[in-house]
């Protein structure tokens, strides 16, 4: 069925509407009172980061807010006028790598990363560069999947970038000059440790995690003092001897356990918990050497933001043998759940299940497949999968493909529609063979690659795939019931994140190079533009001088649209 299903959108409650009205006045005030030219006016305090939703003219964190909903209160662009969106400018990166960074927008200045590790400051009105800071990562750095970077964090006047060769660099946001440059301890580029994640600032700390689970690294999250660059705490995502969870790894397999971090986490200020999704265990496709659940691979961990102490965890795929990283953005929402308000976490996992968790304690509330799934029969009452399949020596067909039902691309949650928008790979599958694998430091440590009709990267401009080989889609799910409300199907796959707005628009893109707007309520196509290149990051929106912009990276370019 290609026809999108229809449903009646919930009308916003009166209080919500009132809030919306005052926000619109607030935004109008802010954007019209600024100088006729662009200025970096005020420091970005942590309080501003916490209340980022209330200044929707800016985009202050990787996911827009620490709740990571990728939902904006800007409403100038509406379902009625979105057809009048017109390209305003293009910034072309001096890089042929995938453009995976989500930009920050701070009072008229855009900060982003040109792969691999150039920080760029752009004028949000014209797209012209103010400055570029280049960090050339060591050629020893060996990221699994491209020399990419997903962006920056800001606090005060300082920007933070983690690099492929394991530096954390603080830059002055005005001048682009370095403030400090910390070499992250124990992370050696030649052993496969690489940082591609956009950092998360919590209070006076900047938190990052290490990638490299395809090289048998031992993952960790670490927090650094934003002023000095000194490490404050570290959480080993694979527990060592004496640490809780070490018993979920047989022998000394924990040493090469992976559980990498490469997508930004979230933060709940009331609970003072920071949430991070963790990657696959190593080796990816042969679990024989690591009997057990392999904590905290493929789990979400909730850490005390001040100390890094583990408060709770929830493992989506115990003893993963399919490479179902749980490196999705933890999307936080406050929902009425069976008669009472609950602090929940929404999670469309690479393993094909959509989860709703109570984020105060990790309690499993709901879990249902959002694509075709065969590796697990179902989830039990605690959310643990009832395993149906594992790789075999002869190879076995498993849904979804190792690339996943979704991957790292950011979903979006609209508190207005109450819907969760998931960039999805539908009907994807692969044959998973099991092969012996030896560990050699710095070499890939994975097993046999699964074989199936899903390409990890966009192959080129020609597409002859049929839906039976898997296809991309944007799906809207009601998290309260775990049911699909609508689906917008694509002919090719998608690596795009999703943005939703308070005017009931959903923006997303595709490998085909289309950037499009859907009606958030029913998924109908309202507008599209062919940008030519793969869209492999999340769209954002911002405003300058009273004008709303919608921006996305496609191919090697960052493109800004606003109304004619």
């Amino acid at each position: 069925m290609n026809e999108p299903r229809r449903f009646e959108p919930q009308r916003p409650q009166r209080t919500q509407r009132k809030q919306l009205g005052s926000f619109v006045i607030f935004v109008t005030f802010v954007v019209f009172v600024v100088h006729p030219f662009v200025t970096l006016t005020a420091q970005v305090s942590f309080d501003r980061l916490l209340r980022a939703a209330q200044e929707p003219q800016n985009w202050l964190t990787y996911s827009g807010t620490v709740m990571s909903q990728r939902y904006s209160l800007l409403t100038q662009v509406t379902p009625a006028n979105v057809k009048n969106l017109e390209q305003q400018w293009v910034f072309q990166a001096q890089s042929l790598e995938k453009f995976e960074a989500t930009p920050l927008v701070v009072d008229g200045v855009i900060y982003t990363v040109q792969a691999p590790n150039d920080v760029v400051a752009l004028d949000a009105l014209t797209g012209r560069a103010f400055w570029i800071y280049s960090h050339v990562p060591s050629p020893q750095a060996r990221p699994c999947c491209g020399r990419v970077n997903r962006g920056l964090a800001i606090l005060g006047n300082t920007l933070f970038m983690a690099t492929l060769d394991d530096h954390l660099i603080a830059l002055d946001a005005k001048s682009g000059r370095p403030v400090w440059n910390t070499v992250i301890e124990g992370a050696r580029p030649e052993a496969g440790y690489a940082f591609t994640v956009a950092p998360l600032v919590v209070k006076d700390k900047v938190i990052v995690g290490v990638a490299g689970a395809e090289f048998g690294v031992r993952g960790f999250l670490a927090a650094f003092d934003t002023t000095t660059g000194k490490e404050v705490w570290r959480f080993n995502t694979v527990p060592g001897p004496g640490e809780a969870g070490n018993g979920t790894w047989s022998g000394d397999s924990w040493k090469r356990g992976g559980a990498s971090v490469w997508v930004t986490g979230s933060y709940d200020a009331d609970l003072n918990l920071t949430y991070w999704g963790l990657g696959n265990p190593g080796p990816d496709w042969n679990g024989d050497s690591r009997e057990g659940d392999n904590l905290y691979s493929d789990a979400v961990v909730a850490l005390d933001a001040d100390t890094g102490t583990l408060k709770w965890h929830f493992q989506f795929t115990p003893h993963d043998e399919m490479d179902y990283d749980s490196t999705q953005v933890p999307v936080l929402a406050d929902l009425e759940w069976q008669g009472r308000m609950r602090k929940v976490m929404l999670w469309a996992n690479r393993n094909g299940f959509l989860y709703v968790l109570d984020r105060t304690n990790g309690q499993f509330l709901l879990g249902k497949p959002f694509v075709k799934v065969t590796w697990a029969k179902e989830l039990d009452e605690k959310g643990r999968p009832i395993r149906a399949q594992s790789p075999t020596e002869d190879g076995v067909v498993i849904f979804p493909h190792a690339v996943g039902a979704t991957n790292w691309m950011s979903p979006s949650f609209s508190p207005r529609t109450g819907l969760f928008y998931i960039p999805s790979l539908m009907d994807s599958y692969a044959t998973f063979p099991k092969r012996a694998v030896d560990f050699v430091e710095g070499r890939v440590f994975v097993g046999a690659f699964p074989v199936g009709p899903i390409q990890t990267l966009r192959g080129g401009p020609i597409n002859r795939r049929i839906p039976e080989q898997g296809y991309g889609a944007i799906q809207a799910f009601d998290p309260k019931t775990g049911t699909q409300k609508w689906i917008f199907k694509l002919a090719d796959l998608t690596d795009s994140g999703v943005l939703s707005t308070a005017s009931d628009l959903v923006f997303a893109g595709s490998r085909e190079g289309y950037f499009f707007a859907l009606d958030a309520r029913d998924g109908s196509l309202l507008w599209k533009a062919n940008l030519g290149g793969n869209i492999a990051s999340g769209p954002i929106t911002y405003a300058v001088n009273g004008r709303q912009y919608v921006m996305v990276a496609a191919g090697n370019s960052l493109v800004a649209f606003s109304l004619r």
Partner: protein
């Protein structure tokens, strides 16, 4: 095979102006050559190029190489059996280093005058000279002008002296200034960050990133250096003190 007898000592004086003109290196490229030299070569050769016995790049003294191409080749492949290792440089970068070496000889270091007192120089930079109004050292001062935190190994004594006495003599592209006048009549001066046919981007005295549409401006123009000459502001001893202090700054860039 390329081979030069170890004992053969070739001392060359180069007519710098013509060489640089032939190659057509811009000031920015020569500066970049200087950065590469200071980062990779100065540890042995010294910032003034006289750290290895028998060589003095500031005087155009080379032991083996006769021409630019040969020097560039030595920079790339090294000299087997000696302390001169192969450098990991492209031909283009090696050429820029050669251009820098030639520029050193064009303004010899011995003209720089007597060494000063770095401690007194520090006091002058932070006090009487008011240098930190525009410059920054170790996180203190303004970001309007060049950060001086690591200027020591990047600029020679003679260069620093000349910049203090005659700031307009050589302005790098990074340090150009412009002044705009808005329709309201507000005049804003700042460091030029970028411009195109229709817009101009500045970093102003208030450390703001500014972008203007040229057609919205009443006027705009490039400026000479906003830095005053210290010719009449500092005595020659004080000048030497300031230069000594600046040469001592070897912090993180």
């Amino acid at each position: 095979m390329w081979r030069v007898g170890v004992t053969s000592l070739l001392v060359m004086t180069v007519w710098v102006a013509s060489t640089l003109a032939q190659h057509g290196y811009s000031t920015a490229e020569i500066v970049e050559g200087g950065r590469l030299f200071q980062a990779s070569c100065a540890r042995c050769h010294g910032p003034d190029g006289d750290g290895v016995a028998g060589l003095n790049f500031s005087r155009g003294q080379f032991r083996r190489a006769a021409g630019d191409d040969e020097i560039a080749r030595i920079i790339m492949v090294g000299i087997p059996g000696t302390g001169m290792p192969p450098g990991n440089f492209s031909e283009f970068d090696a050429g820029r280093i050669v251009a820098y070496l030639r520029s050193m000889a064009a303004a010899p270091a011995e003209n720089a005058g007597s060494p000063g007192n770095a401690a007194r120089g520090k006091a002058l930079v932070e006090g009487k000279g008011q240098c930190l109004t525009c410059h920054r050292v170790d996180g203190a001062g303004s970001q309007l002008g060049p950060d001086l935190n690591s200027v020591g190994p990047l600029r020679r004594t003679v260069d620093l002296r000349r910049s203090l006495l005659d700031p307009d003599a050589e302005i790098f592209d990074d340090n150009r200034f412009a002044r705009v006048v808005t329709r309201d009549g507000e005049a804003i001066t700042g460091r030029l960050l970028n411009q195109d046919s229709f817009s101009i981007q500045l970093f102003d005295m208030k450390e703001r990133l500014l972008s203007f549409t040229k057609s919205d401006l009443r006027d705009w123009a490039m400026l000479k250096s906003p830095m005053p000459s210290y010719r009449d502001k500092l005595s020659s001893e004080e000048l030497a003190d300031v230069v000594s202090y600046l040469r001592s700054l070897k912090g993180r860039p």
